[in-house]
Symmetry: C4
């Protein structure tokens, strides 16, 4: 049933954003291990929900998978809504658990932020399409690890220039937290969707099936 898929997309994104907030917002953050906490959560949730919804937990991934033809167009919008609902719920829960901490907004230089987000969202979507939708890789056991490690790598590599977001639902949570001013999130969203669309195009060119 479609509603099950949407619910699982909400749950997975909820835990992803919970992990991001709890591990990156001080006091009580995970310091240098925050990217490890985030990637570990994502990997576990992908393996938990993959057989139900495909475990996107990310509107940019949903866009890429839809372009590639493995997500019904009619599912794409409710998937994205479900992801944003899960992300928003987690955002408020984190604020409650962090006890009203004051979050200082960060600013990023727009062009590097956009490029950093586009680069690793491309990598993320390219990995997803290959490990989770390519016929040659059917029934593998590594898809969750591969996808989670892109997010780990991206957070470590471009975290300082873009925050290492790669996910419009997480971008929404950053806005709700006030971790980045809303208008400053434009380059993030543009980079994320551009990277995902380019990855879908690259996949269609390089993988014939």
């Amino acid at each position: 049933m479609a509603a099950n898929k949407y619910a699982v997309e909400s749950i997975g994104t909820f835990f992803l954003v919970t992990a991001i907030g709890m591990s990156t917002i001080d006091p009580g953050g995970a310091g240098a291990f925050a990217p490890v906490a985030i990637a570990a959560t994502l990997i576990a949730m992908i393996y938990a929900g993959g057989h139900i919804s495909g475990a996107h937990y990310n509107p940019a991934v949903t866009a890429a998978v839809t372009i590639r033809g493995k997500c019904f167009v009619a599912d794409a919008i409710p998937y994205i809504v479900a992801q944003c609902v899960g992300a928003a719920a987690a955002a408020f829960l984190v604020l409650f658990l962090k006890g009203g901490v004051k979050i200082e907004p960060k600013t990023f230089v727009p062009i590097p932020a956009l490029v950093g987000e586009a680069l690793f969202t491309f990598a993320l979507a390219f990995v997803v399409l290959n490990v989770a939708t390519a016929k040659a890789n059917a029934n593998n056991s590594h898809y969750g690890v591969a996808i989670g490690l892109v997010v780990l790598a991206g957070a470590l590599c471009v975290g300082p220039i873009s925050g290492g977001v790669f996910n419009p639902a997480v971008t929404l949570a950053l806005g709700l937290w006030g971790a980045v001013h809303w208008p400053d999130l434009g380059p993030h969203l543009f980079g994320q969707f551009a990277g995902a669309v380019l990855a879908a195009i690259a996949f269609k060119i390089f993988v014939k099936e």
Copy 2:
């Protein structure tokens, strides 16, 4: 034979609690790598014992698997007893190996502690049910990694607000060590079982089989 299963539940929980004590109690702890040591032990023990007992090593997981119908009700109590025996044995061994160190009890604010425990025990049980009991995921090689990474993530994300326990047998060990005062462990136990039961309900709703 049932006794083999109970013995393996004791062994696995014994090593899990040994890892927790040795890596988190100073002097001689593993510092920021303690969650890594704990998750690594859990993953290895899950792969070692999964084919014998299902590798719960956690009364909350046993509760969730029993509700889902993949653990005989008659096995649930001896499983939990075996886990607690293993945990208690490890608790005393750790005290011996740490040479009579004085452990300062920690206090946690009850509501966030309960919520933190419920959240990640839900995640843990939801992942267990999906990767280890769902028909669509039969014979995968990632179940241990997925389960262990939830515990890694949870320790990093809610460790500061709840201790990152997610396991009533580990809760028993914390009490034996005096790491938390016994009465303060009530919210932990409630959150753990509540999270596990909710995960079993969610699984029954979302996964039809």
Copy 3:
């Protein structure tokens, strides 16, 4: 089509070198987690591209796989060219994203540098040949993790004596960045190709098929 393979070799090497530059060049580097970022990127890209090109992303690996007979000789040169093109593009992108940072060249003592590079490039190629080309290991799900962990280990073990490169395309990027003076890279290249060739010979001796 051969062009798809070459393109994927370029993409994978591009992201590998991007991760190396972004995580190791300060400001904005990943500190002690840089080897984790690099290995995570490599693992993800191997799982993404393995079914298309074999996911070498490394001229020394291409040499070893060609000697072993699993890469057409006619493909070896274009593979290496594609890898170097990807590496060079990433090298310039990193300089752009790092905003014109001044990179101080490092010097390594030649013999230990050569030995360090030869040792872990041997290990890398030996692991690749066994996990990705041996009949007994067909259709496994661990090849990417195994290969990436050699690079993680090598960076941690011989990073201080050789930089932990193990890859002539990465060596090219180091030269372009001015991170090592060009003439000082001779021992690196010699060690890398010597290690790879010796690994191919060892594989042919020990694995009969």
Copy 4:
């Protein structure tokens, strides 16, 4: 051919001891990441050599696998010799690469050292027997990760009380380096073989096949 197996046991143990020496001996060590470097090397070498020799790389593991009946008795001695030759060669190479560094011998309290070694060598051998020799786990892709993670956990958990060795061939290397005085290594060796033998007995009791 048997000689191939012995050669692979030498190669694998050689790289394991190289990683241990390079990552734990300062200057040029890997600091808090040393256990990660060691486990990563072990995992990679297990996946590389498993199909050839079974990838023991450890006389205690060879003893356990022999008792369990999955290593020919006639192979056990040459396996152990090959492992020690590899370990000794690596020990000398490390001394060369570290440029004649002066290694201060460490002392450990005998009983905790023996218990720590016995505990995690038991865990190591118990995991090996279950993931690599139990019929129910045939053809899995996680055996190397499971085994390597025990060593990672053990190094983090009992490193401060025993050094976290769990391997008589590594014990030999510690003696050659002068990292521990030879007579002080008795409890290590006794604990390692006792743990391995007990694990083989436990396996024979709990796993019927």
